[in-house]
């Protein structure tokens, strides 16, 4: 044994050379490196998917706990149905006539179906509590859908040994996980009824109207009238304090009709995504309708503004994607105060006494009356 070891030590340079050639052959003339890399990608994606599955489970458990606390029966079946059903098929777009009406019809039908099903299992709960359940379930459902899509591509990549697909997933997964983590945390805030970042618009609306009576104008949407320096301000927002975004576009359209289209200005306030490096709570002012819906609500505001020949102001409060769904931060509250001052400034300096002005606080009104 010692002799062999001595011989090896004497010829260690030739052994190294042999090893080098073996490795050279394996690396350049076989598929071993690709196989090893494929295996590494596959394991990496599987680990991240397991993490995402955990997030989906955590979110669903939070919703289950909330429903059981509210004494809702048969909630498991309802949750499972919600996760798999309620998808919307986009209307035909190669024939654009009436596409907005058709899209609105499809979205509204889906929402009604969802609300009716929820009402069946929880008829005794208030509309606000039901809205909170619907929103928290929608968040869990969104997480589950993303998980399902990622799992589909992972299994497809594994099945066909498609290393390009697995590599793309492997590179994207860390960013996706970071972006999806706040979704699970957001459910806590919704369940408690705490205002979220997206509620910056309704918070500014509240600052304008305080506790003045709310008048119903459309489904889940209200308006209040206040007087600021002899201007009549019609403030539209979703009906709180439940989690809902309402139908601000329809409300603006109806309100304009009742005012015989005599409107001097329409101001929309909404939370907007900040770019990396920008400060949370920064307020910016521009032109147009500040609303991030699929189209039907935004177009109503734009059409009303055109019909009234009223300038359309947009005031935005900047925040990141996760800040928009998590409970409001102090910086966002400071942004709300700044946006309120900007709106007051627009009303006082760009309209005349006796004018009618519509102000719309866009966003989810959870925790805001």
């Amino acid at each position: 044994m010692l002799i062999i070891l001595q011989q090896i030590l004497n010829n260690w340079d030739s052994i190294l050379t042999l090893l080098f050639w073996v490795l050279f052959f394996l690396y350049f003339f076989t598929d071993l490196p690709q196989k090893a890399q494929l295996y590494r990608y596959e394991r990496g994606v599987a680990a991240k998917l397991a993490m995402l599955e955990g997030l989906v489970g955590e979110s669903l458990n939070k919703v289950r706990f909330y429903l059981s606390r509210l004494n809702v029966r048969n909630y498991d079946q309802y949750i499972n149905t919600t996760l798999e059903n309620y998808f919307v098929i986009e209307p035909v777009s190669i024939e654009p006539t009436d596409i907005i009406k058709r899209l609105d019809h499809v979205i509204t039908s889906n929402e009604h179906k969802f609300k009716q099903d929820l009402e069946k299992i929880a008829p005794d709960l208030s509309i606000h509590t039901r809205n909170n359940i619907a929103t928290s379930l929608a968040i869990a459902s969104a997480l589950y859908t993303i998980y399902k899509i990622l799992r589909h591509y992972y299994l497809l990549g594994k099945k066909y040994e498609n290393w390009v697909l697995l590599m793309q997933l492997y590179l994207m997964m860390p960013q996706l996980i970071k972006e999806l983590m706040p979704y699970s945390k957001a459910i806590d805030g919704i369940i408690r009824g705490v205002p979220i970042g997206d509620g910056a618009g309704p918070l500014v609306a509240y600052k304008l109207i305080g506790t003045t009576p709310r008048i119903d104008i459309d489904e889940d949407t209200v308006y209040s009238i206040v007087n600021i320096e002899n201007r009549s301000i019609y403030v539209v927002k979703a009906k709180g304090p439940g989690a809902t975004v309402g139908r601000p576009g329809k409300a603006v359209s109806k309100l304009a009709e009742t005012l015989s289209y005599k409107i001097a200005r329409i101001i929309t306030i909404d939370a907007a995504l900040k770019l990396e490096g920008e400060k949370t709570g920064t307020v910016a002012e521009g032109a147009g309708a500040a609303i991030g819906d699929p189209g039907p609500e935004k177009i109503e505001i734009e059409r009303t503004a055109v019909r009234c020949n009223a300038p359309l102001d947009a005031v935005i409060i900047k925040m990141s994607n996760d800040e928009a769904i998590k409970p409001v931060k102090r910086e966002i509250l400071e942004g709300v105060e700044k946006a309120y001052q900007v709106v007051l400034d627009i009303i006082k300096n760009r309209t005349n006494p006796g004018d009618n002005v519509i102000v719309v606080g866009i966003g989810n009104t959870v925790g805001v009356y």
Binding site: R192, V194, G240, P241, L333, G367
Partner: protein, 108 residues
């Protein structure tokens, strides 16, 4: 190439010591550069390792005539615009004017 056994043990020790010394100097220099660039500060709040989680919810209470403001911890059922009583100074309505969350960094 010289066989390993022909290198004297003294020379081997000197070589190893020189290597160790060089590595130590390089590591110290690297650490100094990183410390100077605020590396430790960034490490302390590395967003990859820490999550911002809400640990406390605060309700800000205000009198509608703006002569009284107070903070208290959020209670179940609180919402912005909720009338919670009368102002101790003027007897006007006391309402919840804002609710916000205080965040802490928690290790992921």
């Amino acid at each position: 190439m010289m066989p390993l056994q022909e290198i004297s043990p003294d020379l081997l020790t000197v070589m190893l010591l020189t290597l160790a010394l060089l590595s130590l100097i390089i590591l110290t220099a690297l650490l100094y550069v990183r410390l100077r660039s605020g590396f430790m500060k960034r490490m302390a709040m590395n967003p990859d390792k820490y999550d911002e989680v809400p640990y406390k919810y605060i309700s800000i209470i205000k009198c509608v005539s703006n002569d009284h403001t107070a903070d208290r911890e959020f209670q179940e059922g609180d919402f912005v615009g909720k009338v919670i009583g009368e102002c101790p100074k003027c007897g006007n309505k006391l309402v919840i004017d804002a609710i916000y969350a205080q965040y802490i960094a928690r290790k992921r």
